[in-house]
Subunit: 259 residues, 2 copies
């Protein structure tokens, strides 16, 4: 049974446009390789009530929820408290987290702000942080990770062995220098014949034409049945050739990799 | 009265990790310059029921909603139908959209798929598309735009003159080569004294140290009251100097620009 997932990105810096969220794309690709269906992403600011509401909506709707951001030492890091409130559990220093953090700092440096990073909702299990020690945590179907990409990625690697596996999706991308509107009808017919494959159509306009078309479309056939995906891809290529185009397979995502 | 806003990003390609959503960041910065508060972003796939549910939640909660994606000619472009369903209105060819699209194509090229791009929910006003003709549309507090970044940006420029204005936020960013945990307590005290300024703290780890610190923190003071923001920034700089650090202002967002 394929599991569904959502990501909750927490932080004013995403909503202000200061920071480009790249964590979601990384998590998306890792989940895809594991055969987990990412179904929704939400971004909310550093506002406890909004974090609580979004987390409760997502954890009630999807099998797994991954959060990023808001677990540092500063006043704007309120994710752990919000998660505790969402679950209706207490929060306090986690003995193991406290010990790890205490051991990390020189005497006198383990101040109250840094101790905040040991505050973990009751009943949660720690997620190791091999980069900067301060842990994430896991409670029920929710995985709480850091927002700094290097730290988030390391935490996700720690989580991966615990996550459920499904049949990974296979995606074949075919590019051609034709306008999207010329392929739409043929594509719809292929889609109708292949119910278990999702066909996506993504037009592009490129500034420079260094050997590659300046206008064209990328067509993606994605699904869990390798034969059906290949049959769909071949049908798309045949359709493009019938239109006089020269289709190119530009990327093939191999299941089981994190690429 | 400051208006609130949300973005609804529509497309399987974001949830699969195939495409990095950069539209949200661009919209965020434009809204910030207009003095509109972006409060939430959601990403959903090409599933009508999910688009409808997300759109109805967002348009009921926030003053303005901006959607991106799903308005092209192919079978996976279902945004216009989903918006019509969310509002409970009919959808059909919009005469002006139909004429514009018909004029764009050579005789025989204006096929059924391309005609799909003229299907607009009843009661909606068109948003011009100076890049590739096929329009977006605006219905009540919802603005429906393309997903291709070049087209989305052009549509947003068309919309900007119609949008409400508020007092834009001013953000001052101060960087220092100190770990976040050493500034957290001083920062919390400054935040406590400045209720109308939001202080964000963003640690970073950089691979290479070409003249810039490999580990440090960026502190952002953001608010609508220029004096309060400047006072907060000066307090942060003084606090950093007291810690023996050399604070640097690295970016000052000037209100009214789209930078």
């Amino acid at each position: 049974m394929t599991k569904s997932a959502a990501i909750l990105v927490i932080g004013d810096e995403i909503l202000s446009g200061r920071t480009q969220d790249t964590n979601s794309g990384h998590i998306a690709r890792v989940l895809g390789a594991l055969g987990i269906d990412l179904r929704e992403i939400r971004v909310v600011g550093d506002v406890e009530a909004e974090i609580v509401a979004a987390l409760n909506a997502l954890r009630g709707t999807w099998d797994l929820v991954f959060t990023t951001g808001g677990i540092g030492p500063t006043h704007d890091d309120i994710t752990a408290d919000a998660v505790a409130r969402a679950f209706g559990v207490d929060i306090g220093y986690h003995p193991e987290a406290y010990r790890m953090l205490e051991a990390r700092y020189q005497p006198g440096e383990f101040n109250d702000a840094r101790k905040r990073m040991a505050r973990i909702p009751h009943g949660a299990a720690l997620i190791a942080n091999p980069v900067s020690v301060a842990p994430g945590f896991h409670i029920a179907n929710v995985y709480v990770m850091a927002g700094v990409p290097m730290v988030m990625r390391a935490m996700l690697e720690e989580i991966v062995p615990q996550l459920p596996r499904g049949a990974p999706s296979i995606a074949v991308t075919i590019e051609a220098a034709v306008p999207e509107g010329t392929v739409a009808e043929g594509l719809a017919a292929i889609q109708k014949a292949e119910k278990d494959v999702a066909i996506g159509s993504y037009p592009f306009y490129r500034d420079s034409g260094q050997g590659s078309p300046a206008l064209g479309v990328q067509l993606v056939a994605r699904g869990r049945d390798a034969d059906a995906v290949e049959r769909t891809a071949a049908a798309i290529e045949a359709m493009l050739r019938d239109l006089g185009a020269a289709p190119q397979r530009i990327k093939q995502v191999v299941p089981g990799t994190h690429a």
